[in-house]
């Protein structure tokens, strides 16, 4: 058996875990202090546990909501169905929310997938470090004729969610310093919430992220920024000037462009 065949079989063994694979395991011809299946199980455990630990670190609130044991089962299914396609783990949680929304045992809990989305966006905001400040001088130097084409750009790591469940309130309740146990039970799970998540590095110079509830008007305005809507259309929004100032000072907006988004 050549190197490629050995590695192919080894991987099949890592992903599987049942006796049907025993003939295949025998053909790998491995030795060690224990039977071959136990030796493979050590590698299998390391593979699953390391990725489960990573997912748990990215999605602690999802884990708290379903309990650690169920979270491990959920993660294992996700890992089996979602190959890691690069060595760095930084992007591996991208599909976790959509997996939760289609996995049968969790598909009926829409708040769970939305919580995974919230936590993934929060993770993205934490790992996006930007200290470039808004180019006020360049903006001031624009000719009047160019102003209608201005498109304000969201800082990388900024996200908005139009949630159909109170995921912000749930997140706050779980991460509260003084959690009240009946707070979640009394929550109206059909309550909708619009949420802004953003990195704090532009405003503080240090890594970090924040999340906050926003009104529908503000949600629509940030959505328009994200879509690359030109200033000529944006100024029609209520309290546009104040909102623009606010989002720039928070670091939610850190640049502008005169080009349409690609």
């Amino acid at each position: 058996m050549n190197l490629s065949e050995v590695q192919s079989l080894f991987c099949h063994q890592l992903l599987g875990s049942n006796l049907r694979l025993s003939a295949e395991l025998k053909s790998l011809e491995i030795s060690g202090p224990f039977p071959a299946e136990q030796l493979l199980q050590l590698y299998r455990n390391n593979f699953y546990i390391s990725l489960c630990d990573y997912l748990e670190a990215c999605f602690p609130t999802v884990s708290a909501l379903v309990g650690e044991e169920f979270f491990r089962q959920l993660s294992k299914k996700f890992i089996q169905q979602t190959p890691l396609t690069e060595a760095p783990l930084a992007h591996y949680g991208t599909g976790f929310s959509s997996f939760i929304s289609t996995y049968t045992p969790t598909a009926e809990l829409p708040y769970l997938a939305e919580m995974a989305t919230l936590e993934w966006y929060l993770e993205n905001a934490k790992t996006s470090f930007h200290t470039e400040l808004f180019p006020f001088k360049a903006l001031a130097e624009l000719a009047e004729a160019q102003q209608s084409d201005i498109r304000f750009l969201l800082t990388p790591g900024v996200s908005i969610i139009d949630a159909q469940s109170p995921v912000f309130s749930i997140w706050k309740a779980i991460h509260s310093d003084n959690p009240e146990h009946n707070e979640l039970e009394q929550m109206d799970m059909s309550q909708k919430e619009q949420i802004l998540i953003y990195p704090t590095s532009p405003s503080t110079g240090r890594p970090g992220a924040e999340l906050t509830l926003i009104s529908n008007d503000h949600y629509q305005l940030i959505r328009a920024f994200k879509a690359g809507t030109a200033l000529s259309d944006l100024v029609l929004a209520a309290d546009f000037q104040q909102q623009l100032s606010h989002w720039i000072s928070l670091g939610v907006i850190n640049n502008f462009s005169l080009e349409k988004h690609s």
């Binding site: 058996m1 050549n2 190197l3 490629s4 050995v6 590695q7 192919s8 080894f10 991987c11 890592l14 011809e29 491995i30 030795s31 060690g32 202090p33 224990f34 039977p35 071959a36 136990q38 030796l39 493979l40 050590l42 590698y43 390391n46 593979f47 390391s50 990725l51 990573y54 190959p83 890691l84 396609t85 690069e86 060595a87 760095p88 930084a90 790992t127 996006s128 470090f129 930007h130 200290t131 400040l133 808004f134 006020f136 903006l139 001031a140 009047e144 102003q147 209608s148 990388p156 590095s201 503080t204 890594p207 200033l231 000529s232 100024v235 000037q241 623009l244 100032s245 720039i248 000072s249």
Partner: protein
Amino acid sequence: MLSQPPLLMNISQQSHPLPSSVSSQQAELKIAELAIGIGLRSPHHQNFMDAQTAVDWLELHSENFFDPQSPQRFQLNSIAEHYPLSFHGVGLSLGSSDPLNTRHLQALKDLIEEYNPSLVSEHLSWSSNKGRYFNDLLPIPYTVESLAHFSDRVDQVQNYLGRQILIENPTAYLSFDSSTIHESEFLGKVHERTGCGLLLDLNNIYVNSINLGLDASEYLTNIPVEAVQEIHLAGFTRKQLDTGEILIDTHGSRVSEPVWQLFKEYRQICRAPALIEWDTDIPELDVLLEEAQRAENEQSEVLSRRVVA
């Protein structure tokens, strides 16, 4: 016609300048012989952003710093101004039969070019197959085919990076019956064929000696000492199975006494810089510094004995 938004005048324009490029400073910071370093992990980044923590050098996992817009890179810009660095890779999958991942390699090259570290290292292992990664360092059969393949890959990487890399001996919980070359001999031949250096992890040698019945002293004797440019010291965990006990290379505890003993023995013939490596259940920084201090003490004792003799 639109007027210039007047609100812009009300906004603070205070800046948060990034530290300047550090490749020139880093070029002057070299890891010396006998230097004792520690593995840099995220809970401790802040402790090294100025020069307040006394340690000879730091080693980081390259993949954690690939993203130039990450907080880690921001912190590294400051850290690299004060400490000599080693970049230790865990994801190049050198032993894999897949083609080399050029995107990964380019990200590593970009990182190296920005910081110019003293040492760059990877593992005698593989971690991907048909494009799927396993987040682990998996064992390869030590055959003539593997030796040719692995040496060719090291050559490719060194040519691409334009510099030497070090290859680390792995931990394994099994061996392949098809292996025809002893691991230490395999590493020596990779060094001979490619000119790569070696990174000797004494904990891995000890763990393998217990789990797989290898002779640690014989292993060290077989390694060409002139190729060894770095030593790792780490801890393991004992795992009880139904059929017996096995040592797991968790890098999550203090260096064990048998590994300190190997270090003292090997220090008699090798002056390569040594590193305290701790990857799981990361403790307070003081614990790592205590381990580094013990490494200093152990090697001082060895070296003073040699002078007396």
